[in-house]
């Protein structure tokens, strides 16, 4: 009885996955031509390609990684290496903050990004550096969208990094300290090299989650349509996920836009799939190396 239920649920999940992926692959793959990935949209988004959205997504993800990974890894190192194992009150507060951050709906991150990064930080930078009336930083841009998305990714990176640090045996830390290494030397030369694959896996999984999120960038820099590619962190940008939303809700003729929609979803899915694959490959490689 139990195994029958298990079998049914496994089949059900597999079936759902197959239907979604199969549907997108069948309809989407044939849309992906060289023109589709090398041209901007034309004719009121009814034709052309998605190049600005691909470039925008890639730029956003890269910028987000530059913000989220160092910050997340540093936080995890502090939590795991510098706070006592029994748990200090500050570590407890930080851990519960991280856990709660992970539970915040992504649209709330979007609103926070608008309120904090754009309206507070951006506007104040403008006030200090721009002539009166000029707006450079106090508007949606790649930078602020990346920062907002980084906040969303941060918990994943922190938790994965702490997990990776935990796999480094205490013996090795003691061996290093007993040789007269300082704690920082121990972390840099023993702990980080030992946990690097785990950290990378976690970072990539976090990043791939962030790459598909739309809500955090809605108010913080994603553009409906841009004929040009972003050239600066203060530029707005197109984004694959947002483009899917636009194509499916703002098109004058939804039926006619469908092929483009399928193509865009396919590209987005392929991108996140590749990122996930990279994470899994790195993880299995580490496992087999540790098992040896």
């Amino acid at each position: 009885m139990k195994s029958a239920a298990l079998g049914v649920s496994v089949l059900l999940i597999l079936a759902i996955l197959l239907v979604i992926i199969g549907n997108i692959a069948i309809h989407g793959a044939k849309q992906v031509t060289w023109e589709f990935i090398s041209q901007p949209p034309r004719d009121g988004l009814m034709a052309g390609g998605i190049l600005p959205a691909i470039v925008g997504t890639a730029a956003l993800v890269m910028l987000m990684s530059i913000v989220a990974v160092p910050l997340g890894v540093a936080t995890a190192i502090y939590l795991h290496e510098y706070t006592p194992a029994g748990g200090s009150w500050i570590a407890t507060i930080m851990r519960s903050a991280v856990a709660n951050l992970a539970g915040v709906p992504s649209i709330v991150f979007g609103l926070f990004g608008l309120g904090f990064f754009i309206n507070f930080i951006g506007r104040n930078i403008d006030r200090a550096t721009q002539p009166p009336g000029e707006v450079l930083w106090g508007q949606g841009s790649l930078l602020w969208a990346a920062c907002t998305l980084a906040l969303l990714t941060l918990p994943t990176v922190i938790v994965a990094t702490e997990e990776a640090l935990r796999t480094v045996p205490q013996d090795l830390r003691e061996a290093s300290l007993a040789l007269g290494a300082t704690q920082w030397e121990t972390i840099r030369r023993v702990v980080l090299p030992g946990s690097l694959p785990g950290i990378l896996t976690g970072a990539i999984l976090g990043i791939s989650r962030g790459a598909g999120e739309v809500a955090p960038i809605l108010f913080t820099g994603a553009a409906y349509y841009l004929p040009f590619l972003p050239g600066d962190v203060t530029d707005q940008f197109m984004h694959l996920g947002y483009h899917v939303l636009i194509l499916s809700t703002q098109s004058p003729d939804v039926e006619a836009t469908k092929p483009l929609l399928y193509g865009t979803v396919f590209v987005l899915l392929a991108l996140t799939f590749l990122l996930n694959l990279a994470g899994v490959v790195i993880r299995t490689r580490t496992r087999s190396r540790l098992a040896r």
């Binding site: 029994g86 045996p169 830390r173 061996a175 290093s176 300082t182 030397e185 030369r189």
Partner: protein, 248 residues
């Protein structure tokens, strides 16, 4: 000489060492024996202040190496640990090559001259009696070595930074008899150059390798004397009961 006077040690409120007094002479092997939980390892780890990494611990009293109290506020723990090497119960080579394991302490100490590092690595591996077994594969992983070889590699790694004192925390307890014998021979060799303090559970081992033996129980030093005396004519009834195996 390591001079210990009225040394107490605490885990939080819990006192684990009570008024330890002993003098450990240079270039001899001093064995610390006693039942599990008697504080001998804690005492060993107090000498190079490895207990510092456990939060809530504190040492009181004096452990002086050549007259300098290692618990004095002015003492730099990093340089202390370079003078007092340590070998652990479980061999713990870094997941690096054999060469890099031994070179680790040198690089940490700022040595960059490749030829000097090469020479020191070779000398340390020779002193640890493992050179002939690894000289052709210095660049392969240390984790591929056998348990006994790994432990001797860890000894070589500790010797590379040129300490005066070597602390060994049951260095052979996880090894087979032949590997154990090699470690014991090595300890015997090394004492002409180093002051060695070794914790052991193995009574015969203490009798074989050490010049002096300290018997700990329940956080107190029960008896400390020349090894022969401890094993042949102990003064304390407790010591006699322990070494004859009446408890332990």
């Amino acid at each position: 000489m390591i001079d210990v006077r009225n040394f107490n040690f605490f885990y939080g409120e819990h006192q684990v060492l009570h008024g330890i007094n002993l003098e450990i002479p240079d270039r001899q092997v001093t064995a610390l024996i006693g039942p599990s939980g008697c504080g001998k390892s804690t005492f060993l780890r107090s000498i190079n202040r490895m207990n510092d990494i456990i939060p809530g611990t504190r040492g009181e009293g004096l452990i002086a190496i050549n007259g300098e109290n290692v618990y004095a506020p002015s003492v730099d723990v990093v340089s202390l640990r370079r003078r007092v090497g340590m070998v652990f119960q479980k061999s713990n080579p870094f997941p690096k090559s054999i060469y890099e394991n031994v070179a680790y302490g040198l690089r940490i100490g700022g040595m960059t001259d490749k030829r000097r590092i090469d020479a020191t690595v070779e000398r340390s591996l020779r002193r640890a009696a493992i050179w002939d077994e690894v000289k052709d594969r210095l660049n392969s992983s240390a984790l591929a070595l056998s348990g006994g070889q790994q432990q001797r590699l860890c000894i070589a790694r500790a010797l590379a930074v040129d300490p005066d004192i070597l602390l060994m925390d049951e260095p052979a307890s996880a090894l087979d008899p032949i590997a154990t014998q090699k470690i014991e021979e090595l300890v015997y060799e090394l004492k002409s150059n180093y002051t060695i303090v070794i914790v052991t559970h193995n009574m015969q081992q203490a009798a074989r390798v050490s010049d002096r033996t300290a018997f700990f129980m329940l956080g107190k030093l029960v008896e400390y004397d020349v090894t022969k005396t401890i094993f042949m004519t102990p003064k304390e009834k407790l010591t006699e009961d322990y070494i004859t195996g009446r408890f332990g």
